[in-house]
Structure formats: structure tokens, C-alpha cells
């Protein structure tokens, strides 16, 4: 393997610092134009637009099978939060006019912009777990429309990417795109190909076919080190025999950045990740969280334009994980760097990412904002995978779903099942079912009930405010709606006896 470590003058690292990609036309064949900002806006009316948009844009592509389109109607939403950021990303530092080697250094101050020179709009990601940043587009401020337009440029895009290892197909016709400044999650069960996809973007695996573009440039044949990528490995892959300082400095040394500039940049990053004072430690002497932060700093040191993280929280115990999750989310928002992370944990993906790409068996099942995936799963797999769904076979026996075709199955989420507290008047008597409480478990803010209804087992949440229920007790339950599986599609079906009552998607707890 002959690797030339030299960043040639016109090389990528330089390109990163210099005017990054504003001029680069959106990837041909991609149709960012077909994501009207309007499609991103509606929050109400679950059935209509976002899903419809996704499907239509999906059908526009040749992609076969379950591969969903690459368009993200909802991407305007993340735009709301990253749009504020994108000026920060776009600039790439004030001193970026110098191309080539020097720009790698000038990229360093670029980060400074991300940290200190944040735009006023930065307050947005303050509450990342609230709906606000995602719904940013729902309340289009003056910058909102512009942000959406900016973000419409796909920063990373995959088109028809295939990869197989021997007989095993790790990626089949994978297509998706990620707008600039967004945090995407590749979510799927183990063996679903998500890590392979990430490694192909990084250049650690070579796709058998298809195009991978970063910032509009096809990178398939570009050496990993020329792609402008920061990579955080699953177990961090810190250099165990180098100090924290040397770990972070490694990438810069490889780019032959002058010593003084390296020192400055490393200190800056260690300050950013609150690792000051630990420069001389070895990775073996750090805690899991500290290692993650070093890995993060190391990945960011050469000022990449794309950050890839492979299961970044897998090696950390559950307690610290949540903390680190929001730390990382916050950090990525502050820097405004386009990022993709791989996870098998849906709550991680849904809470952290702007866009979630669900993979299964090497295919992309669906891509969209967490809310879209949650509200409108396109395939049975997504319906089952997202949320705490229970799958029912042949559900036509349930009251209100008599119209179901014989043998059809569906997924029911706990919030679709309302338990009428005993002793209270039953509201929709004729649409309710009789159920027996099988078990009750305490979930902090609510109770989780396992219920038996006509031989089906369902789960529901039950407020602590209501009269307590005990296992064995008979209760009335109302099943609002289910995700009916129809071939390879999942479709929301409401309880037919409730139709007169209207059917906004109300979370019932």
C-alpha cells in the first residue's frame, strides 16, 4: 500500500480552508429543488405533506426496493438550527485565502470562529432536546428561508452505493444525502450495513459501485486523507503509545503544519473539549468520557469538513452516555460541522440527530427527521424499529379495525393505546376493547402496562395521576390507530369507529 502522506498544494485540506463549496453546484441528479421549504414547514396534519413529499421525491429516483429517496423534506427544520451555524462553517476562517499547506493552519482559526465567533443565532441549540431547533422551519424567521435554501445543498450524498463482502451484501443501492451543517444518524440493527456505509464515506472501504460525494466532489477515488474527514472510531482508536497532546497533534504533523501552529491548535482543541492539563497523559490513563473527547479533538484537529463517528457512545457506560450525548450534540452545533454518526440505539439517534437514516439488511429503509420517522414510518421495518412498537398479526379482530385484510399485520405503539382508568366513565364505549392487565411496571413518570386484548399482547403507558391498576384487573382500552403493513409499506390506519371524532396525531399519555 503506497500512501503519499503529503498534502499536495491543491490537496483537499487546503480546499477545506479556502472557499469551501459555495460555488460547487449541487450534485447533479440530486434534486434539492424538489424540497420546497414549504414541505418542511407543516407540523400539523401528519398524513399529508411530509410523508407525501418524501415518497414522491423518493419515487423520482430509480432506486428500487425499499431504498427511499434521498430527499429530506424536513431538512429545512435542521436548517433552522444549523442555518444559524452555516455562516460559521462556510467561512472556514478569516485567513483562508492562502491555499495549500498554510491553509491547514488557517483552518485552525476557522474553528475559533466556531467557538468564539458564534453568530447571535447560536442560542438556538441551547435546548437541543426540545422541539424548537428541529421545528425551526415551522416558525420561519427572517433567516429561516435563507437557511433552508443554504441547507438544500447536499453536503454529503451517496447514490446507488453497493458493497459486498464475498456473498454478504453489506450495502445495496444505498442513496441518501445530508445537507451542510446537519447531524445525521445512521441507525439500524447490527449487521445492517451502517458502519460499512460510514467507512465507505471515509474511504476505509471501497464501494463496489455508486457515487459518494462530499461537498459536491466525487470522492470515490480520493485517498481517505484527502477527503477532509475527521473520524471518531468506535473504541476511539487513540494512539495508546502517544500522549493526549501527540494524539491530537498527529494529523497536523502529517500535514507538515509548523510546530508552533500545531501547539496552538492543539491547545485550542483541548480547551474546547475541556481537556486542558491532561496533555501529557496517555489514553490508558483517561476515563471513557475523556477518551471520547480526545478522539473528538483529534478528529477535529485538521479542520475536517465532515465529521464521521462510529458508535461514539457504545464504549461508555449508560450513566455518562446521556451527558456526552448532549455534549457532543452541542459541540457539533457550535462548530456547525456536517456530521454523521452510526448507532444502533434509536433513542440516541432520535434525540441527537437532525436526520436519521434507517438501514436494514444493507438497504436504506427510510431517511427523514426523527419526527417524520416516528410519525410516518414508510416501511414495516421502520414502524417496528422506531418507538416501542408491538407487532400484531391478523389484527382485523380488533374493534374499529374490522376492515383490515385477512392475515394482515400491524404495529401498535404504546401511545396508541389508551387505558380507561377504572371507575371513570368510559368515553368511547363502543370502540373500546376489554383487556386484562398482565403486568405493571413503574417507569418513573408513568406506569407501563402490559395488556392482553383478545389474545393480543399490547403495551401502554398509564399516568400515575389515575386510579392505580393491578395485574389481573379488567380495564377498557381504546386503540386509536395502528401502522398497518401493506406489502413493503407501512400506513397509518385509524380506528374506524373514531373517525367522527377527528384524528390529529395526539400523543396520548
Amino acid at each position: 500500500m503506497c500512501v503519499s502522506p503529503k498534502p499536495s498544494s491543491g490537496g483537499m485540506p487546503g480546499a477545506r480552508g479556502t472557499a469551501p463549496f459555495p460555488a460547487s453546484s449541487p450534485a447533479p441528479g440530486k434534486a434539492p429543488g424538489e424540497l420546497p421549504p414549504a414541505a418542511a414547514a407543516p407540523f400539523r396534519g401528519p398524513q399529508d405533506s411530509p410523508a407525501g413529499g418524501a415518497r414522491e421525491s423518493g419515487s423520482g429516483r430509480p432506486a428500487g426496493g425499499g431504498a427511499r429517496g434521498s430527499a429530506f423534506p424536513g431538512h429545512g427544520a435542521p436548517g433552522g438550527d444549523c442555518g444559524a451555524m452555516s455562516p460559521g462553517t462556510g467561512t472556514g476562517g478569516p485567513g483562508t485565502a492562502v491555499p495549500g499547506r498554510a491553509s491547514a493552519v488557517s483552518g485552525a482559526p476557522g474553528l475559533g470562529i466556531g467557538t468564539s465567533g458564534l453568530k447571535p443565532g447560536d442560542s438556538a441549540p441551547a435546548g437541543p432536546e426540545s422541539e424548537a431547533p428541529r421545528g425551526g422551519a415551522a416558525s420561519p424567521g427572517p433567516g429561516g428561508a435563507k437557511a433552508a435554501g443554504e441547507a438544500a445543498r447536499a453536503h454529503v450524498s451517496l447514490e446507488g452505493v453497493n458493497k459486498s463482502f464475498g456473498d454478504f451484501s453489506a450495502a445495496t443501492d444505498v442513496s441518501f444525502s445530508l445537507p451542510e451543517g446537519t447531524l445525521g444518524a445512521l441507525l439500524g440493527p447490527s449487521g445492517s450495513g451502517k458502519t460499512t456505509i460510514l467507512r465507505m464515506i471515509a474511504g476505509l472501504e471501497t464501494p463496489d459501485g455508486g457515487d459518494i460525494r462530499i461537498g459536491g466532489t466525487r470522492v470515490n477515488d480520493l485517498h481517505p486523507s484527502r477527503r477532509g474527514i475527521g473520524f471518531v472510531f468506535q473504541n476511539y482508536a487513540l494512539f495508546r503509545y502517544m500522549t493526549v497532546f501527540d494524539n491530537v497533534a498527529f494529523g497536523l504533523k502529517m500535514q507538515k503544519v509548523p510546530r508552533a501552529a500545531i501547539g496552538e491548535r492543539v491547545r485550542e482543541l483541548l480547551a474546547l473539549t475541556s481537556m486542558e492539563g491532561l496533555e501529557r497523559r496517555y489514553p490508558g490513563q483517561l476515563s471513557g468520557g475523556q477518551r471520547q473527547r480526545v478522539a473528538f479533538a483529534r478528529a477535529l484537529a485538521p479542520s475536517p469538513r465532515l465529521l464521521l463517528l462510529d458508535e461514539p457512545f457504545a464504549a461508555i457506560d449508560a450513566k455518562v452516555r446521556k451527558e456526552l450525548r448532549s455534549w457532543l450534540r452541542d459541540m457539533i452545533s457550535r462548530l456547525g460541522i456536517t456530521s454523521i454518526f452510526v448507532t444502533h440505539d434509536q433513542s440516541e439517534a432520535i434525540e441527537v440527530a437532525d436526520l436519521v437514516i434507517i438501514t436494514n439488511g444493507g438497504r436504506v429503509e427510510q431517511a427523514g427527521t426523527p419526527l417524520e420517522l416516528y410519525r410516518d414510518p414508510a416501511t414495516p421495518f421502520v414502524a417496528r424499529f422506531v418507538g416501542e412498537s408491538t407487532v400484531l398479526e391478523d389484527y382485523g379482530a380488533l374493534v374499529g379495525f374490522e376492515g383490515a385484510p385477512r392475515g394482515a399485520s400491524c404495529a401498535v405503539r404504546p401511545e396508541f393505546v389508551h387505558v380507561c382508568p377504572p371507575g371513570e366513565p368510559v368515553q368511547f364505549g363502543n370502540s373500546s376493547e376489554d383487556a386484562i392487565v398482565e403486568s405493571v411496571s413503574f417507569r418513573g413518570s408513568s406506569l407501563e402496562l402490559r395488556l392482553r386484548v383478545k389474545g393480543y399482547e399490547l403495551t401502554s403507558f398509564y399516568s400515575l395521576e389515575h386510579a392505580p391498576v393491578a395485574p389481573g384487573e379488567r380495564v377498557k382500552v381504546l386503540i386509536y390507530r395502528v401502522y398497518a403493513f401493506d406489502g413493503g409499506e407501512a400506513r397509518l390506519v385509524n380506528n374506524s369507529r373514531l373517525s367522527s371524532q377527528g384524528n390529529g396525531y395526539n400523543f396520548v399519555i
Binding site: M1, C2, V3, S4, P5, K6, P7, A202, G203, L204, P224, S225, R226, I229, F231, F233, Q234, N235, A237, L238, F239, R240, Y241, M242, F250, G251, M254, Q255, Y282, P283, G284, R298, P302
Partner: protein, 278 residues
């Protein structure tokens, strides 16, 4: 479990005592006998027989072949270990098995293989004689035979370490633009340095004492193709007991030195692992 291990006092005492007695009777006493025989008549006769010109030449030749074999096998071991642990290819399992051949094959056969290849009956003989290259019954043959016999040691020590370490640190380095040699020097070598040294030490020990294969290809030309073990054997056959045991004492001394070095390396690597890893 603990009770099973500790409770049976007699079994414990018996096993420990048996091990000690066995090693003492079959290993330590014979070695002491060698030293005792060497120094039976005091230091002067010992020194005289050791500083005999043929003994010195044999020692020199042993050191030469050992150094050559160790260098070759270190290079080969690194390449093989790298190939086996870093690439996936057809016939990988086969290659790993091949590396182990010298462990399974008798050294005499190793010697014969070279005779049949480079000797008068060998297929390479016409070419070699045409170019006046001597391999069998000359130093190159000794080196080849030693290489053959000692070649699994380095690879065998490194492969498990490289396997356990995984490839992600190297991938990280390559992603950051590090070339092959930089990656090897800065990232891989620190991981395997102690295993490598350990392999080199074992390889040295084996090469110094190699007898069988070398005996076949040597031709026993005194002062020219006699290594120290061969020299010892010849002296012994000629009833030069004192000289023979004196030379043997040197070999025992090197073995002890090598063992000490091995233990030091082992100790350091363990401490090293505690410090850097986890």
C-alpha cells in the same frame, strides 16, 4: 473452586515437589555437571581449551550465523505477521500453517532439504557450480539451515499481538494522512516492540544452539564450517572431554544470559502494558 484448589494440601505439596525434583534431576544437575566438568582442573585449563583457535573460530561462526538468521527471520516475521493480520486473502490459513512447519519437521530433514536442493544431487547445483557459488558445506548453507529452523519464532510472537490490537489505530493514522512507514514506526511498532524483542531473543537462543540441520549441511570442516555445537560434538567424539565441556560451558552461559534477557523483557512489557493500556 477455591476450596478445590487450596484445600487438598497433600496434592499441592506433591505436585510442587514433583515439578522441582523433575527439573532438578533432568535439567539442572546435568547442566551443573557440564560446568563442573569444564572447571574440574581449575580455570587455566578451561581458558586454554576455550581460547583454542578452532574453538574461537567455531564461536565466531555461531555468532555470525545466529545474527544473520535473526536478521532474516525478524524481517520475514514482520512481513508475515503483517500480511496475516492486516489483509484477508485466500490461503491465509495455509500460510499460517506453513510458518509452523519448522516446529513440526525434524531439523535433520531441514538439512537434507538443502542438500537435495543445493548439493551435488540438487536441481540448483549446475547453476551454482557454473557461477562458483558454494552453499552446502559452506557458511551460506549454515545460515540457510539456521533460518529454516528458527523462522517461526518472531512471526509467532507478533501475530497474536497484532491480532489483539486490531487495525483501528492504523486506520486512524492513515485517515490523517500518515504513510505506511510512518504508521508502522509511530503506531504499530510501539505495540509490538516487546513481542518483537521477545521473538528475537527466542530466535537467538534457538539459533545459537542449533545442531541437527546445521550438522547435515556443515560438512564438519574444522575452522571453516564448524559452529560451536558441532565443535563440541567433534571434541567429545575425539575424547577431548575437557575441551568439549569447556566449550559447552560457553554455550550454557549464553543460554543463561539469554534467559535473563528474556525475563527482563517480559517484566518490562508487562509493566508497559499496565501503563499504556487501560
Amino acid at each position: 473452586m477455591d476450596g478445590w484448589r487450596r484445600g487438598n494440601g497433600t496434592l499441592r505439596v506433591f505436585l510442587i515437589a514433583f515439578s522441582f525434583v523433575f527439573i532438578t534431576v533432568f535439567l539442572v544437575l546435568p547442566l551443573c555437571q557440564v560446568l563442573w566438568k569444564a572447571f574440574e582442573f581449575g580455570f587455566r585449563p578451561f581458558w586454554e581449551s576455550v581460547s583454542d583457535q578452532y574453538a574461537l573460530k567455531a564461536l565466531k561462526l555461531s555468532v555470525l550465523t545466529t545474527v544473520a538468521a535473526v536478521i532474516c527471520n525478524t524481517a520475514f516475521g514482520l512481513c508475515a505477521a503483517w500480511a496475516v493480520t492486516r489483509f484477508s486473502f485466500r490461503g491465509k490459513g495455509f500460510l499460517i500453517t506453513l510458518i509452523d512447519i519448522p516446529f513440526a519437521v525434524s531439523p535433520v530433514i531441514a538439512g537434507l532439504v538443502f542438500i537435495m536442493t543445493f548439493g551435488r544431487l540438487g536441481w540448483a547445483y549446475p547453476f551454482l557450480s557454473a557461477h562458483d557459488i558454494k552453499i552446502v558445506f559452506a557458511v551460506p548453507g549454515l545460515v540457510l539451515a539456521t533460518i529454516f529452523v528458527t523462522f517461526p519464532f518472531v512471526a509467532r510472537e507478533i501475530i497474536p499481538v497484532l491480532t489483539a490490537r486490531g487495525t483501528d489505530e492504523e486506520e486512524a493514522a492513515v485517515l490523517m494522512g500518515s504513510g505506511f512507514f510512518t504508521t508502522f514506526r509511530r503506531v504499530t511498532l510501539p505495540h509490538i516492540r516487546w513481542a518483537l524483542l521477545y521473538g528475537v531473543i527466542l530466535c537467538t537462543a534457538r539459533a545459537m544452539g542449533e545442531f541437527g540441520a546445521v550438522s547435515v549441511v556443515s560438512g564438519h570442516l574444522r575452522g571453516r564450517t564448524n559452529t560451536l555445537p558441532l565443535h563440541i560434538e567433534i571434541l567429545f567424539r575425539e575424547y577431548h572431554t575437557l575441551q568439549s565441556f569447556s566449550a559447552a560451558a560457553i554455550l550454557v552461559a549464553t543460554a543463561v544470559l539469554i534467559l535473563v534477557a528474556r525475563n527482563i523483557v517480559e517484566g518490562i512489557s508487562r509493566k508497559d502494558a499496565d501503563y499504556y493500556v487501560r
